[in-house]
């Protein structure tokens, strides 16, 4: 059974220094509030797994929480570079970061394999690509039936997965819809799973075949309305494209980034206070 906890308590209980952590959500339902809370609690030496690091990992990497990054596409969608990721890779700031790089198909299959309890995933991939030359974990396997040589990659089995979803009921069953990315697979691949949700309701009223994660497969459910911002929650709020654009100059240099983290994340008690500070800054700018 998932415990209904504050986000502070869930991160404190379930994420330890040195853990491998997947905060998933493919453009949609990115668990931003949880990323902030990890920074607030000063977690260290994390192995961060995520197909698209996005702003959430730019923040975690720049704030010094990550030892290693496992990913498949690291940009600011529709805007450009993730400057904190690039600074860590190119200039080792705030410290060196190990990167383990895959393709989307690879990581998506690796999550499926992880959720399936398998040690590796098999897929038709990478022939002719240089990625296997720089990632020794990309290997090959020969089909015992046809002789075809296929790519074999280790499954992803994080210590903790964190996702954001639309709804939970009071027992902690979770419903999500819209673009689902690899959230279900990431949740089931992990040893522990925290879900932040937009609202907690008496009855999920989930249609048959809907994507429901049962409470007994989860560790904690936390009520964090707006917790995916600047990503979006289908049916609740839209993607804040302006924030993605505004992030570019903030993250571009170390001083403005650190000042932003100190003011908005380390300088706020929780996500509600963060939202209030962001709103008052936006108001002052008008």
């Amino acid at each position: 059974m998932a415990a209904i906890l504050s986000l502070h308590e869930a991160v404190k209980q379930f994420i330890q220094d040195g853990d491998s952590v997947a905060l998933e959500g493919f453009t949609h339902l990115i668990p931003t509030a949880a990323g902030h809370e990890i920074i607030r609690q000063g977690k260290r030496d994390l192995t961060l797994v995520r197909m698209t690091p996005d702003l959430i990992y730019d923040q975690l990497i720049g704030a010094g929480c990550a030892r290693k990054l496992i990913f498949s596409w690291g940009g600011n969608p529709g805007v450009g570079s993730l400057h904190r990721l690039r600074d860590a890779v190119e200039k080792q700031w705030p410290h060196a970061i190990e990167i383990e790089e895959h393709s989307h198909a690879d990581l998506a299959n690796a999550y499926v394999a992880g959720a399936s309890g398998l040690p590796f995933a098999v897929l038709r991939a990478y022939a002719g690509s240089d990625l296997p030359k720089v990632n020794p974990l990309i290997k090959s396997v020969t089909c015992p039936f046809t002789g075809e040589v296929l790519a074999a990659v280790p499954s992803v089995r994080p210590d903790v997965t964190v996702i954001h979803a639309q709804k939970a009921d009071r027992k902690g069953n979770v419903l999500l819809w819209g673009i689902l990315g690899v959230q279900k697979e990431a949740a089931l691949a992990a040893k522990r799973c925290i879900v932040t949700v937009e609202e907690i309701v008496d009855d999920l009223q989930a249609p048959m075949n809907a994507c429901v994660l049962p409470t007994w497969a989860l560790s904690a459910v936390c009520l964090v309305p707006g917790g995916a911002h600047p990503s979006y929650a289908h049916g609740y709020y839209e993607r804040d494209n302006r924030f993605y654009q505004a992030w570019d100059p903030i993250a571009r240099n170390r001083e403005s980034f650190t000042a932003w983290i100190d003011t908005y994340i380390r300088g706020t008690a929780d996500f509600t206070e963060f939202q209030a500070r962001l709103a008052s800054t936006a108001e002052a700018a008008q």
Binding site: T27, G75, A105
Partner: protein, 259 residues
């Protein structure tokens, strides 16, 4: 109607998508061209985005690969793992439509690093869905602006394979798809030459000179015999494109040039 070189590029790329084709679309220029095709010559083109939407019919262009607009206008939305496993690897994609940071003469793509991988001069976003799209789609189209920095003699890194080292490279690699069949730029269209599979210029956009193309290419680019002139964008094509960009800019709160 006068038009820009970027508009010519998008229109020329859109024309390459036949009606009814099932198209796996990358974000940015490919998405713009594919949606223009859907709004003009190919209303029944099926657009698939790696985030999960199948049969997306967005009225404004997505800024990210997983915008809500794609999900809302799709025939169905499936998990990302399923997109890559059933629909791409399963052999159901006719055309993979990709952008690139750099390409070489065989249509190989680099979106990973400039310089040494372990000490990069410039770290690029990385692979995303492209390596397997390039491998498994029946055909691949590449769209990018032409410059010597983008069209290079030798790639620092091959992220997604095109025709490899040329010739029968793809067959030797055991890749199921035919590979790239066109590179559409703001200056011209290139297609792979028979046998060598080296990309040569087969169509030059109106007002562009051979010298311009040679100067904008980092290898000794060749021109096909009987090279064509690309038809200028029609009024229908241009107004559809401009309307799409204006709707997009309004929806995303940008100025029109940014869309």
């Amino acid at each position: 109607m006068s038009y820009s070189t970027s508009e010519m590029m998008t229109v020329a790329a859109a024309r390459r998508l036949r009606n009814g084709a099932v198209c796996f679309v990358g974000i940015g220029l490919p998405s713009k061209a594919a949606n223009l095709a859907r709004l003009t010559s190919s209303p029944d083109v099926v657009l698939i985005y790696e985030s999960g939407p199948i049969g997306a019919k967005p009225s404004v262009l997505p800024l990210s690969i997983g915008d809500g607009e794609l999900a809302e206008t799709a025939d169905t939305v499936v998990p990302t793992g399923e997109i890559f496993r059933y629909w791409l690897q399963g052999g159901r994609i006719d055309v993979g439509f990709l952008g690139a940071a750099q390409v070489d003469r065989f249509g190989n793509i680099n979106t990973t690093v400039v310089g040494d991988y372990h000490a990069p001069k410039t770290r690029l976003p990385g692979a995303g869905g492209a390596p397997e799209i390039a491998g498994s789609a029946k055909q691949v189209l590449i769209i990018l602006k032409q410059s010597p920095r983008a069209f290079v003699d030798k790639l620092d890194f091959i992220t997604s394979v095109g025709h490899g080292e040329g010739g029968d490279s793809r067959q030797r690699l055991g890749l199921p798809g035919e590979g790239p069949v066109g590179i559409i730029t703001d200056l011209c269209i290139m297609e792979p030459e028979a046998d060598t599979h080296e990309f040569v210029v087969t169509s030059i956009h109106p007002g562009v000179t051979r010298e311009q193309i040679i100067k904008a290419t980092g290898w000794a680019i060749r021109f096909a015999e009987g090279v064509q002139q690309t038809a200028a964008p029609s009024e229908v094509e241009l107004s559809a494109l401009r309307d799409l960009e204006a709707r997009t800019a309004a929806a995303h709160g940008q100025t029109a040039g940014e869309a």
